[in-house]
Amino acid sequence: MAFLEVRDIVKSFGGLRALQDVSLSVEKGEIRAIIGPNGAGKSTLFNVMTGLLSPDSGEVRFDGERISGIPPYRVIRKGIGRSFQITNIFPRMSVFENVQVALFSHHRENRSALTLARNFREVTDEVLAVLGLVGLADKFDSSASVLSHGDQKRLEIAITLACRPRLLMLDEPTAGMSRFESRETIALLQKISREQGLTLVFTEHDMDIVFGISEKITVLQQGMVIADGEPAEIKANPEVRKAYLGEEIAE
């Protein structure tokens, strides 16, 4: 069985079918892009896969365990990290504290109420290491809310990475970034996933990025998977061209 297995997911809102029999499987260590026009169901699929929404039918299995229908905090504990389209950080906490609280959770130390947070020396070292990894080490004591947009996105990646996920799910990791910032972020993600052997599933609008880094691509349209395969196959797929990519990947 594949590392991440999505089987026949159906999800409706009212009368609207957001996802129809969506299936896909991702192997360990793979970099997978999920693409599709706006409203194709990418975010809904992400929300189902990480427990924010329960599917009407079908299931999601991660490393052999069923994870659909259980609340996000338990999905995360199984080794999945998620970042969001809209920057999702802890604004009125310092950069350091943002990552620190993630690590406390990862080490199940957030229930210790009688030891001072600063006495967890190993956590402190780890926080600085993670911040170093994303290039925010020198900004550790500024408030997260005053960072630039790109830095906030990187902080969010740092928070997500701090929990040592085996599977990283990124919903438009470069949304709102300048071209330069996107390139940097993508290079960073590639480097990290290679170094740590992470499996990466992401959605993205920028086709240069999608075709530049992903090993496999799943195309959604109107809640259905219309194509699934390697970048070259996807580029050649007439249905994909017709439905969505047409002008964007025309050479």
């Binding site: 995360i76 809209i86 999702n88």
Partner: protein, 647 residues
């Protein structure tokens, strides 16, 4: 009693229930309309009701006769509308982008101010409003005697409801109002003039409150502070019906009207508790009320983050823990220099500070506004009071048990409350608080009812091998409370600086993100609720010891406002803020009360200025100034504060 099936009896009861429902609907429809469009839960709505009744009183005293009566009925709501417009344009408009707590506090400050102004203008005594002769009598209906005025009320209220329905569903402005209340951004995008619309809606809500006051005035009486009773009933109505929903207000009014009428007949000892019981029951089953929908959670970016960096300011004393020795030593030697009055004053402050600091673990740290904290204070106080008066329990075991009982109460109440957020959370804690208040107030056999408990004996405390410690004198009580409250505060400080505390802060900042770190948000909120409730209970226990008498008044919802005020005065995002707020509030109180009877007016003004000018509170302000100063003078900074990465 001739039985329920007696037609004349039924007629009288049904009409009296309808009359009550009519008053409730008039007032709460305005409240819910304002909430729906402006997203503000207006505490001052009860005060607007009161103004309506006073205006009615004033106009009828100037122009007598039936003409004067109906003139007053028309003038009073318009007068209230004018005041509503002034309040909206002058004050409320400034705080729409602020967090809920500041909006609630601003309207609460208005309650205090308007109540005292009414006292100054109209006097403190109860006023009754004369009815014209033809409305004075009673008619016989199905064999029952019904006051003519009741008939008038029962006819007028549905007429107003129908008019309201017409305005909202059949006119263009009404459609715009409904669109705005269901989707504010959409309305904004459609180019609706939001400023004017908000003023209009607030004024319209004020008209309804004022009309409710004008109509209820001649049937009831009017006095300063009548609004605080009315507003709580209306909160119950709109929360049961679903905040922002007009039909909810209608159904809620009918339910409460019926329940209170039946309650008086069937269950007279507990009539007051019934409506809170109903509210709790409804919210437990349907957290958003009968007709309500879950509120869209405001994104943090929409809110004003003007004091965003306070908590991570370099102003930490963490690296110089010995600096804490200075205030501790000062407090220890204080009784040597000060008389009994000041010792007593400070003891009061210790108790209040403990309550406020415990409360702020919920508000400032976890981001949950509880409006029922007095319940736990009461549970602690009554535990100590009852154990010491009715049993031979020692002082320390009683105090220990007060921790236990308040922890149990907080676990049960918290279990239901933490499923809600924002205003709904505040309202459910308020309902539970009032339920406990009703129990203490009415259960004469156990709690002494409204007499409370007097003459609580404070027994000597055995110290292992060192004899007995007598804490009967003012001075020894000062030291006892200082030590117990001091230890508790130190404990709470530790909790706040622990990984657990960091987790609570993360939940406050962004609950969704926190759950995506593997944190069980509800469980942590619940735990914080229990810790806050437990230590508030300890404060109550200490209060019972130092005062030696307690009354249900300490559980009333207006007492739940105290820790909120202290926290906001001192500084919400600081640890010592609430304690500083306790000092300010209690010192101000004891001096201003000696100087003027209009304490509430002064407090209201202080709150108003604070919300508008210093949202970070006293300590927030000091921190900011200190930071400005310290960044300029490097050596002080180096001396006082280390640049430790983890502080």
């Amino acid at each position: 009693m001739t039985g329920f099936l007696d037609i004349s009896f039924l007629t009288v009861q049904v009409l009296s229930a309808l009359r009550l429902a009519a008053f409730l609907f008039l007032i709460s429809s305005g409240l819910t309309l304002i909430f729906g469009v402006l997203n503000i839960l207006n505490f001052a709505h009860g005060a607007l009701y009161m103004l309506g009744a006073y205006f009615m009183f004033w106009v009828t005293s100037q122009v007598t006769g039936p003409g004067g009566f109906f003139l007053a009925m028309a003038m009073a709501p318009l007068g209230v509308a004018l005041i509503g417009m002034i309040l909206e344009m002058g004050l409320l408009r400034r705080i729409y982008i602020q967090e809920e707590i500041y909006q609630l506090l601003l309207t609460y400050a208005l309650v205090l101010i308007i109540d005292d102004l009414a006292k100054i203008v109209f006097g403190a005594e109860y006023k009754s409003i004369p009815k014209p002769a033809f409305l004075e009598g009673a008619i016989t209906l199905f064999g029952g005697t019904v006051p003519t005025y009741t008939i008038l009320v029962v006819v007028i209220a549905p007429t107003v409801a129908a008019l309201l329905w017409y305005l909202l569903y059949r006119t263009k402005t009404g459609k715009v109002i409904r669109a705005t209340s269901s989707d504010r951004e959409m309305a904004d995008a459609l180019g609706i003039n939001m400023k004017a619309l908000f003023t209009l809606v607030f004024a319209f809500g004020a008209v309804l409150a004022g009309f409710g006051g004008a109509l209820a005035g001649p049937a009831r009486t009017v006095f300063p502070g009548v609004g605080t009773e009315v507003i709580i009933e209306c909160f119950v109505v709109v929360v049961i019906g679903g905040l922002g929903n007009l039909w909810g207000a209608l159904v809620g009014s009918l339910l409460i009207g019926a329940l209170e009428t039946v309650g008086i007949i069937v269950f007279p000892e507990f009539e007051m508790g019934l409506i809170y019981l109903l509210m709790v029951a409804v919210l437990v089953v349907r957290p958003w009320g009968l007709f309500g929908k879950p509120l869209k959670i405001k994104a943090l970016s929409e809110k004003n983050l003007s004091f965003e960096s306070q908590e991570i300011s370099p102003v930490h004393f963490s690296s110089r823990p010995w600096l804490w020795v200075i205030p501790v030593v000062l407090l220890l030697i204080f009784p040597a220099f000060a008389g009994r009055f000041y010792q007593y004053l400070l003891t009061q402050i210790f108790v209040a500070a403990l309550m406020a600091v415990a409360f702020n673990l919920l508000l400032g740290t976890t981001g949950l506004l509880s409006f029922g904290q007095a319940a736990f204070f009461g549970v602690g106080a009554y535990t100590v009071g009852l154990l010491l008066t009715k049993t031979g329990t020692g002082t320390m075991p009683a105090l220990g048990l007060s921790l236990f009982t308040s922890a149990v109460a907080a676990s049960v109440i918290g279990f239901f409350c933490v499923r809600l957020t924002g205003v709904h959370f505040a309202m459910l804690t308020l309902a539970f608080g009032q339920l406990i208040f009703a129990i203490a107030f009415k259960w004469y056999g156990f709690t002494g009812g409204d007499n409370g408990i007097q003459g609580i004996p404070v027994r000597e405390i055995p110290l292992a091998g060192l004899g007995l410690l007598d804490i009967g004198s003012t001075k020894s009580m000062y030291y006892f409370v200082l030590v117990v409250a001091g230890l508790a505060v130190a404990f709470l400080r530790r909790v706040r600086s622990s990984p657990f505390g960091a987790t609570l802060k993360a939940i406050r900042e962004n609950g969704q993100r926190a759950s995506y770190l593997g944190i069980n948000v509800t469980l942590y909120q619940w735990t914080a609720f229990v810790i806050a409730g437990t230590f508030t209970g300890l404060a109550g226990g200490l209060f019972a010891l130092m005062e030696r008498s307690i009354s249900p008044e300490i559980i009333h919802w207006t007492k739940s406002a105290d820790p909120v005020l202290m926290t906001i005065i001192g500084g919400i995002y600081t640890f010592v803020g609430p304690a500083v707020g306790a000092v300010v509030l209690i010192v101000l109180n004891s001096y201003i009360v000696a100087w003027t009877e209009y304490w509430a007016l002064v407090l209201g003004m202080v709150l108003l200025l604070l919300v508008l000018l210093l949202p970070g509170g006293v300590i927030g302000f000091v921190n900011e100034k200190a930071r400005d100063y310290l960044t300029r003078s490097g050596w002080i900074r180096r001396w006082l504060f280390s640049k430790s990465a983890t502080s």
